[in-house]
Symmetry: C2
Amino acid sequence: MSAPAISVIERALAGFKPEDHGLPADFILTKLTAMKGCGCKVPREVLLELLKTFDDGSMVIDNDAGVGIGLDSCVVPLRHKGLNLVQTTDFFYPLVDDPYLMGRITAANVLSDLYAMGVSECDNMLMLLGVAVELDGVARDVIIGQFMQGFKDNADMAGTKVRGGQTVRCPWLLLGGVASSVAADDEIIRVDQAKPGDVLVLTKPIGGQVAVNSYEWLKKKTGRVEELGLDECKILKAFQQVTVQMCRLNRNAAKLLHKYQAHASTDVTGFGLLGHADNLARAQKEQVQFVIEHLPIIEYMDEIATKMPNGNGFNLFTGTSAETSGGLLIAMSLENAAEYIREIEMLDGFPAWIIGRVEATSGNRGAVISPDRQIHSVSSSIHQQLN
Amino acid sequence: MSAPAISVIERALAGFKPEDHGLPADFILTKLTAMKGCGCKVPREVLLELLKTFDDGSMVIDNDAGVGIGLDSCVVPLRHKGLNLVQTTDFFYPLVDDPYLMGRITAANVLSDLYAMGVSECDNMLMLLGVAVELDGVARDVIIGQFMQGFKDNADMAGTKVRGGQTVRCPWLLLGGVASSVAADDEIIRVDQAKPGDVLVLTKPIGGQVAVNSYEWLKKKTGRVEELGLDECKILKAFQQVTVQMCRLNRNAAKLLHKYQAHASTDVTGFGLLGHADNLARAQKEQVQFVIEHLPIIEYMDEIATKMPNGNGFNLFTGTSAETSGGLLIAMSLENAAEYIREIEMLDGFPAWIIGRVEATSGNRGAVISPDRQIHSVSSSIHQQLN
């Protein structure tokens, strides 16, 4: 596997100019949906209610919702001894305006559910596509062609291939995939082993929903930027930072789970940092609580959230702001966490953080954000590199 | 595995009464989309054009389109010797008005791509759901709950389980699934071995698109039924017949492929009988042509197609009328075909037919409908059983 010809960082910094691709200058990809990225999930309560239809426990829908054993992927022991089918699917709508980067994000997001289980070898990907009915022939070919290229490039980065899929017409542009691995028992991390005294590690900053939405305000000239008195340049930089992070695979993060004996892990997506932390905490064998004490937030996104009504825009500070293709959240020993963070930063070129701890509890399992939580503003390394 | 509590035949004959489920009497499920079943596919030419983006041949999108090696599922040789990941996905929109039966059809349709390869053991299913944004809470719970039950019941019938999925909001009600099997080499039929002298067998009648659409005319009172002078009772019976056929698994058909040494097989869905026959013929090792001489058509559907403008409604007689969860199309020796047909009829309670033959050709591989083709009207056994 070699790195794709197109650099995510260069592409994110350059921005997508529709006219360079034969599209009208006012073409905006994200107008092809009313919902963005992982923010399109059916609410968790609704899903849980619907699943009550099944009283025999044989059906588990949307593992992301923490239904059943709270795993990100399903793990199916096979007829062939010692082997398991580990599998996940995700689909959603465009949330950045560059269809190539949307392809990379879509692939990274679906692979992430395998990586959250420590499974770093994906054996096959399928691509799911709903082609917006309103697209004309030119737009369709540009958008879908570039999307496919981005999806394929991240499959290459992941050392896997795309060998099937389904393409239908749909009112919104629908993007997704399926990732599958046939993994030996020891390739899969047991994610229910968190112990009191463990710390929590996070491998990507939060604030993606704020970044994507504030960039939309800018791009669609909604007046919101002026109304809140926001800085356009800072919004753009944050959007570029989050785009690069969403394209980045959690594959190294997955490999290191084994090396540093992670006790539990999940990836942070539609339910936000606290939502996924809570799912994971509830799935633990020991009666533990996850306490989040630091919120690593993409630079300037905390300021935007503060300026919004109630001072908690998109529920950023209460931890339920949606992320798309977010980082891994991991419980491990303090000693291992320090080494894990050092090594992932070396491999990926981006920082990770200890954001909390695992406590014994006599009450219910779950996750909370500490009242004394600290905001940690994550400045953009992609701009520092170039400036 | 035991048969589900709900009988498909009884349910199809009873019809779906929205008011029995707390829904408005004028609620029509198929109004939640502008496209029906496998008729929603992006046209084959468009797909093939888009795939030219990839010149390295590493990406195969939508195997149904006959891209690449023309298989219905992708077959991925694994790191674990002698094993393959066989995998397929499909999603589409409602085409019958009973959400429970829609769940059974959706599961049968996705499983069918495994069955077409002779793989009769599915190791896992994922469910894909787009919940129409316009549904209110009551309608959503009824529709999705019943859909899930139907999907699960057919997974049970297939001896497999649903262990994951994704649920998003979407303007149309989107229904689909993923089916995966980790299969030993000898569980998979080599589908490129058709020989001159073979005959073609079909295990379900065609005419699904005509039946579903004429029933829509009736149900939505479009005036088309009166305009064409159609018989309402016959339309209803045809719709019930095709509904039962769409719910029926091709699993026995798959198992018998091994017993009777099938040389080639595929399932008939969105591109119609001729479209899929043509894909399969082109994938053969030997230079052959598939000649279709008999069209087994659901009773009365040929009459409707004849009464429509140009006398070939929905391209029924030219073989490209879309089917959803259609039968298997198989090339095998004449002796084996006779035994195959006898045994599938015994197991499933529905007939299959020899519909054509495999010829050597000096021209291009492909499939044609013979100018002397015969129409065979397939009367409904589900009504005969009850009358």
